[in-house]
């Protein structure tokens, strides 16, 4: 005996299928919205900036004359800052993630630290700028140099990197480490030979994504008092510097005085975006090359 009414079932089937189509359409729309905004942004930047983008612009020094202005100083500044951010965040971030995920016992201490790290990930970047100003620029008396900027940006992205590295370590299947422990390996041997190699692709992807964020940050640098003046190219960690996002910020700010500054800012944005794409392609390349199946 059937407990369903066949005709009712058929009617409901139609509305279920229709519902499915409506939801699919809504989700497609949300995807397209993001794509549309991105496309508008890219096109505007390209129209404004492409004409000003040439070799002289990339290699030139900063100038108040838009025809002679170049961004070599800012480009070098960004590279120098990265040279601080990359080792600092990788060593401290991955180290913290390994401790929390693999050594620390579950308990109040661990959950206290983890809650704080998640909270820090949500602190506005300008607050990190204030922290950097107080600690690195004034207290440690570095001044507004590459080292101070790099350390401030490192602090900013560390929480994100720690969380993503923790997730990467957690994703390594437990049966792999069991196999290693089962043969008498110590925890460190297991981490070094089994867990880290398996988690490396995801850790590197996460690191490069957080580095991309550090490259694009402006707010903390303005608080540190990073100038956009006619300063010499930075040649070391203790030289004053400017960075690409700072350059974009100041040119946009002054575009009411000289109209071409807006175009220079757009050209700089293209350079910054190109740098980000480059980093992301490296991340994708690393992921595909080293990814392992389980």
């Amino acid at each position: 005996m059937k407990q369903f009414d066949e005709t009712q079932l058929k009617n409901r089937m139609n509305s279920r299928v229709r519902n499915n189509r409506i939801w699919k359409f809504i989700f497609l729309l949300s995807t397209l919205f993001g794509l549309f905004v991105l496309a508008v942004l890219m096109i505007r930047v390209a129209i404004d900036g492409l004409g000003f983008l040439n070799m002289d612009f990339l290699t030139g020094r900063l100038s108040t004359n838009p025809d002679r202005a170049g961004i070599m100083g800012a480009l070098l500044g960004t590279v120098w800052v990265m040279l601080v951010v990359i080792p600092v965040t990788l060593i401290i971030g991955v180290g913290t993630a390994i401790y929390l995920e693999l050594y620390a016992k579950n308990g109040k201490f661990k959950s206290f630290i983890e809650t704080n790290i998640s909270n820090l990930a949500g602190v506005p970047s300008i607050v990190y700028g204030l922290l950097g100003l107080t600690v690195f620029v004034r207290l440690m008396d570095f001044g507004n140099v590459v080292l101070a900027g790099g350390l401030t940006l490192s602090l900013l992205v560390l929480p994100i990197l720690i969380v993503s590295a923790q997730e990467a370590l957690r994703a390594v299947p437990g049966h792999l480490s069991e196999a290693s422990y089962g043969m008498g390996a110590t925890k460190w041997q297991t981490i070094r030979r089994v867990i880290l190699p398996a988690a490396l692709p995801s850790i590197l992807t996460g690191s490069i994504l957080s580095l991309s964020r550090a490259i694009g940050e402006t707010a903390p640098l303005t608080v540190l008092g990073i100038p956009a003046l006619l300063i010499p190219f930075p040649e070391g960690l203790l030289d004053t510097f400017t960075a690409l996002p700072m350059q974009i910020y100041y040119w946009t700010l002054d575009s009411s005085l000289v109209a071409e500054y807006a175009n220079l800012a757009a050209a700089t944005i293209i350079v910054l975006l190109a740098l980000l794409f480059l980093l992301n392609s490296v991340a994708i390349f690393i992921r595909n090359k080293f990814q392992q199946r389980y």
């Binding site: 049966h175 196999a179 043969m183 041997q189 398996a198």
Partner: protein, 281 residues
């Protein structure tokens, strides 16, 4: 088999010869006890998972541990190499003496214990490395760097698990390219490479097809000449086919432990009889 014994600090006996002499002079009944478990209790947090376990496991035999899901058989076998401690919140009381040393003692180094007690898991778990590197992993973590010695160990171990002929030309291939049954035999070879005395097998055939299962069972029969084997199994026919002694676990207790023939032909406990005749479990 004792190539790396000195380096690893393990006392290895000339196993094959010893076995022959035993066969000539005595029956398996008098084999030495390798694990002596006394009044073992284990808790996962509040859950009392093992209750007053008393078991004597003999050398160079296959000891099968059977019982329904959740009866504590996997927990027990993982206590024998203290892998159970990977679960947070585990507490134990009682003693398990391995050749006279209480392994539950806090001063016992688990790394040392686990070089004498190899383990094979339910799901084949090769490393995402080459076949060679999988086998060489154990010796390498114990500090063996000599390439020639490693080559020898890899060959001996693969021969020991009877897959040398299948794999000798594929040593540099990734272990994930092997079939499930080959992966499991590779894992057994990997356990042999640390040159243990005991091999723990936690339902080693439950993820395998019948043909691969048969191969693992034959392998277990061969290996017991040189090693003491303790195998948890869900499959009662398997226990009956290959084991010398069988322990029946139920709700964290050992209901019956005896010669396999006796357990299956003439169990002394009603619950054992019900379980092996398929009335529950």
């Amino acid at each position: 088999m004792s190539i790396i014994a000195n380096k690893m600090g393990i006392q290895l006996k000339p196993k094959t010869k010893l076995k022959e002499s035993i066969e000539m002079t005595t029956s398996t009944q008098t084999n030495d006890i390798v694990y002596d478990t006394k009044e073992l209790n284990l808790w996962y947090g509040q859950t009392h998972a093992l209750k007053n376990i008393n078991l004597e496991i003999h050398e160079k035999e296959v000891t099968a541990i059977i019982g329904p899901s959740g009866c504590g058989k996997s927990t027990y076998i993982k206590t024998l190499n203290r892998m159970v401690e990977l679960v947070p919140g585990v507490r134990t009381t009682g003693t398990i003496s391995y050749k006279g040393t209480n392994i539950l003692d806090r001063t016992m180094k688990v790394e040392n214990l686990r070089t004498k007690v190899g383990m094979v898991f339910q799901k084949p778990n090769p490393f995402p490395k080459s076949i060679y590197e999988n086998i060489a992993y154990g010796p390498k973590i114990h500090g063996i760097r000599n390439k020639k010695l490693l080559d020898e160990i890899v060959e001996t171990s693969l021969r020991g698990a009877y897959i040398w002929d299948e794999l000798k030309d594929r040593l540099s291939e990734n272990a994930f390219g092997l079939s499930g049954g080959q992966q499991q035999r590779l894992c057994i070879a990997r356990a042999l490479a640390i040159q243990p005395d005991v091999i723990l097998m936690d339902e080693p055939t439950s993820a395998l097809d019948p043909k691969s299962t048969l191969k693992i069972e034959e392998l277990a029969q061969e290996l017991k000449k040189d090693y003491s084997i303790i195998m948890v199994t869900h499959n009662m026919q398997q226990a009956a086919r290959i084991s010398d002694r069988t322990a029946f676990f139920l709700d964290g207790e050992v209901v019956e432990f005896d010669d396999t023939n006796k357990i299956f032909a003439n169990p002394s406990d009603k619950r054992t009889e019900d379980y092996i005749s398929g009335r529950f479990g």
